[in-house]
């Protein structure tokens, strides 16, 4: 049409707008979550030694093997590189006792991915938190190993196998058990400080509240998590603390912090609007308290989160974003 010598570029893409993107991808988010769990993992390695890394590797391997095979069977592109299965494996390992037989986390990882994620359609379609279903299935399958294979924390020198976590001891023995535990704390030591720093028997990744907070702060800074869910969980748990014989220990133990900042904030299984998230969080906190104080388990956040996962679609329906219209102040 024109005399100007201009040819079309070899490939021109046609699409509706927008033609630019924020640059954040699902894979990036998942790998940042994985990165944020590193401090807690390193701490666990320092206090519990090599078994921690073996348990973690086994669980991750189980998850990504199952994810890879599920994609092969479904004839879809492998979603292993997006880091979500890796993340599920890491989080599952964090909920396990460090001295559990090495093959068990692998089984747990496979079960978690297959029954929570793959059969529902893969990433984005699961109803329950993948890692927590894995843990729940392991509790049902390996009840003894899941509750007895604890290690006594010792920086650099780990050998003792501890019989039960502090929460489990209190659950069984009540005030008397608590007194015994407190009496065993050496002079000048503080039990709550051990819990905060992570010098106690407990699951791989949940022992150190401090390290979990570090990772959570990173995710918050990167805008990956918001605080509505974790803070309302902590409020919910705190409301039930007076019913416990040891409120401080109760607040600092049993994976509340890991659950609040890393499990309950899972995008797929949590509500979207702030109001929905607050109800979700409070529900988890209160249910955790109810399970611990009156239920059959010393802990409870795992089941509390799974119960509230069920409500997520409903919460998304009940608490909708506020439309921009005359008269209503948008939320």
């Amino acid at each position: 049409m024109s005399e100007a010598e201009v040819t079309s570029p070899p490939t021109l893409h046609l699409s509706s707008g927008p033609h630019i993107a924020s640059g954040r991808t699902t894979g990036q988010i998942m790998w940042m979550v994985n990165l944020s769990l590193l401090p807690a993992l390193l701490w666990a390695w320092a206090v519990f030694g090599w078994p921690v890394l073996a348990v973690t590797a086994s669980s991750i391997l189980g998850c990504i093997t199952a994810e890879y095979l599920a994609c092969r069977i479904a004839k879809t592109e492998s979603t292993v590189p997006d880091g979500s299965a890796f993340c599920s494996g890491l989080l599952l390992a964090f909920t396990l006792p460090p001295a559990i037989p090495i093959w068990m986390p692998f089984i747990g990882g496979v079960l978690a991915i297959v029954f929570t994620k793959a059969v529902f359609g893969g990433l984005g379609y699961n109803i329950f938190n993948v890692a927590l279903v894995g843990r729940a299935m392991m509790m049902a399958t390996f009840p003894v190993e899941m509750t007895t294979r604890w290690l006594t924390p010792a920086l650099g020198n780990v050998d003792a196998v501890s019989s039960a976590t502090v929460l489990a001891q209190i659950k069984l023995g009540g005030q008397e058990a608590l007194n015994k535990i407190l009496a065993a704390v050496p002079d000048g030591g503080h039990l709550w400080l051990d819990f905060f720093l992570g010098m106690r028997a407990g699951s791989v990744g949940e022992v150190s509240v401090l390290m979990i907070m570090l990772g959570a702060a990173f995710l918050f800074w990167k805008g990956i998590i918001k605080l509505y869910i974790p803070l309302s969980i902590l409020v919910g748990v705190a409301l039930m603390a007076p019913f416990s014989p040891a409120p401080t220990i109760y607040m600092l133990s049993g994976g509340i912090w890991l659950g609040a900042f890393f499990m309950a904030t899972d995008y797929v299984t949590s509500p979207i609007t702030p109001k929905g998230q607050i109800i979700f969080g409070l529900g988890i906190g209160l249910l955790t308290g109810i399970i611990r104080n009156w239920g059959g388990y010393p802990e409870g956040i795992c089941y509390a989160i799974m119960l509230m996962n069920i409500l997520t679609p409903a919460l998304n329906d009940w608490f909708r974003p506020k439309r921009l219209t005359a008269g209503g102040a948008p939320s």
């Binding site: 024109s2 924020s22 990433l123």
Partner: protein, 454 residues
């Protein structure tokens, strides 16, 4: 949003949603407007929304600059942007309609081409005559919407309007044509705004400019002070308000809220809250029409992107082809994968270099693979980024999930019809889901259903 929006927090903005993409305005914001006249222009007869126009010239006809060459019955006209000879009237490509009737004119300027000098007594023309001149000059919204301006300014009898908002937001990344106009032709912007205020009978005019265009805001303030509009008859109080740089600040509803605090009702126009909005370039076109009797024959287009050798702010005749602009700007400068008419958030991709500039074309962008996003999309992970980004408070995530399972007619509950396709949702989506496209397809399904039932 709230915890980290401390930046510019003192400046007004809209109440929810929005994004802040990289601006890329540094490519062209310092470049003065340049004129470029190609050897041929290709004019699609459809230049604005609504009924299609009929060509009024045939092959071999001689036309003069400003002659009416196509007309929508009872609507806006299309004028010859250049003097010359009609080489053909045939089907050709159109940026948004795919195909249209295109009038090709070979440019042949002559000594006696009309110059459109200032006409006597333009300030005191009756409103009806001013509107007529705007219509006859073929003025449409030059911000991109291309809605006929005389229709927007012909208010219903019962309309209660008290404020004119002039839109100098230019919130789309890359685009700088309105910025350059505000800097270089601030007097025309201000006088044009004053005329529009006269037409709609208001004494209050607010010009909204984003924070990243401070020099333009400063220049406009200076010009307003120099012209002394409050002493003119009728007096108009004109203020320049700097808003936060936040997309889509230039959308009517968002701009009205930022500048006046008023919320346009669902499905309504700014008129419902006593406001009329016009773009800065449109204000200039209104002045040209009323003061000089000059029709819309040219416009400023930002030619930018990392894929073009010399980015420019070009004033070109309507009908200048993309191909001629590429040649004039030195050719490609990288692996161009997308060519856009408009900005990167709402612009349209084209695949045919014979497409030409229409009245609504604000930008011509050549994007390389590094600056645009071309990727497969993934499942929704319910992160809620799109819901946070939506300035209308809609649920693009839910719409997309319903669309994926083939249930477009159940998406009304999530607000599809209130979506104005700003693109904030897709921009924010980490799974790169084409949320705007899902919205468009859902809306089309409703339109089809409405056609069937009526």
């Amino acid at each position: 949003m709230s915890l980290f929006s401390w930046r510019n927090s003192a400046l007004p903005t809209f109440s929810r949603g929005g994004v802040h993409p990289d601006e890329h305005k540094e490519l062209t914001e310092h470049l003065p407007i340049e004129d470029f006249i190609p050897t041929n222009v290709y004019l699609p007869v459809s230049q604005s929304l609504g009924a299609s126009a009929e060509p009024l010239v045939a092959k071999a006809a001689k036309v003069k600059r400003g002659d009416v060459i196509a007309k929508v019955p009872g609507g806006v006209s299309l004028h010859a942007p250049v003097s010359g000879i009609v080489k053909g009237v045939a089907t050709g490509p159109h940026a948004s309609l795919v195909y249209d009737t295109v009038i090709t004119i070979q440019v042949k300027p002559s000594e006696d081409d009309p110059q459109f000098p200032e006409q006597f007594g333009w300030q005191t023309l009756p409103v009806a005559q001013m509107l007529e001149r705007i219509r006859d000059a073929g003025v449409v919204g030059l911000g991109g919407a291309a809605f006929p301006t005389y229709r927007k300014l012909s208010l219903p009898k019962d309309a209660k309007v008290d404020t004119l908002v002039i839109n100098g937001s230019e919130c789309e990344p890359y685009l700088t044509c309105d910025y350059r106009l505000m800097l270089e032709e601030s007097e025309k912007v201000v006088l044009g705004s004053w005329l529009i205020a006269r037409i709609i009978g208001v004494a209050n005019c607010v010009i909204g400019v984003e924070d990243n265009k401070q020099p333009a805001a400063e220049k406009l303030r200076q010009t307003i002070a120099e012209l002394g509009l409050d002493k003119m008859e009728p007096p108009v109080k004109m203020t320049v308000v700097v808003t936060q740089t936040r997309y889509p600040q230039g959308s009517e509803k968002q701009l009205v809220q930022s500048l006046t605090g008023r919320m346009v009702p669902k499905g309504g126009l700014p008129l419902a809250v006593g406001v009329v909005v016009q773009n800065v370039a449109t204000a200039i076109a209104c002045l040209d029409a009323i003061r000089n009797g000059k029709p819309v024959m040219e416009r400023v287009v930002t030619v930018s992107g990392r894929g073009i050798l010399s980015p420019k702010n070009l004033r070109v005749p309507i009908g200048t082809s993309v191909e001629d602009i590429i040649a004039h700007c030195g050719g490609y400068a990288g692996d161009v994968v997308k060519i856009l008419l408009g900005g990167p958030m709402m612009g349209r991709t084209i695949a045919d270099l014979d497409v030409s500039v229409t009245k609504g074309t604000s930008g011509l962008l050549f994007l390389t693979a590094a600056e645009t996003s071309i990727t497969h999309y993934q499942p929704c992970i319910s992160c809620g980024e799109c819901v946070d980004a939506c300035p209308m408070g809609l649920e693009p995530n839910r719409v997309s999930q319903y669309m994926e399972v083939g249930r477009p007619l159940e998406t009304l509950q999530f607000g599809v019809k209130e979506c104005f396709e700003c693109g904030c949702c897709s921009y924010s989506c980490p799974s790169h889901r084409p949320l705007v496209q899902f919205m468009q397809v859902a809306k089309a399904a409703y339109r089809r259903q409405e056609r069937k039932t009526t």
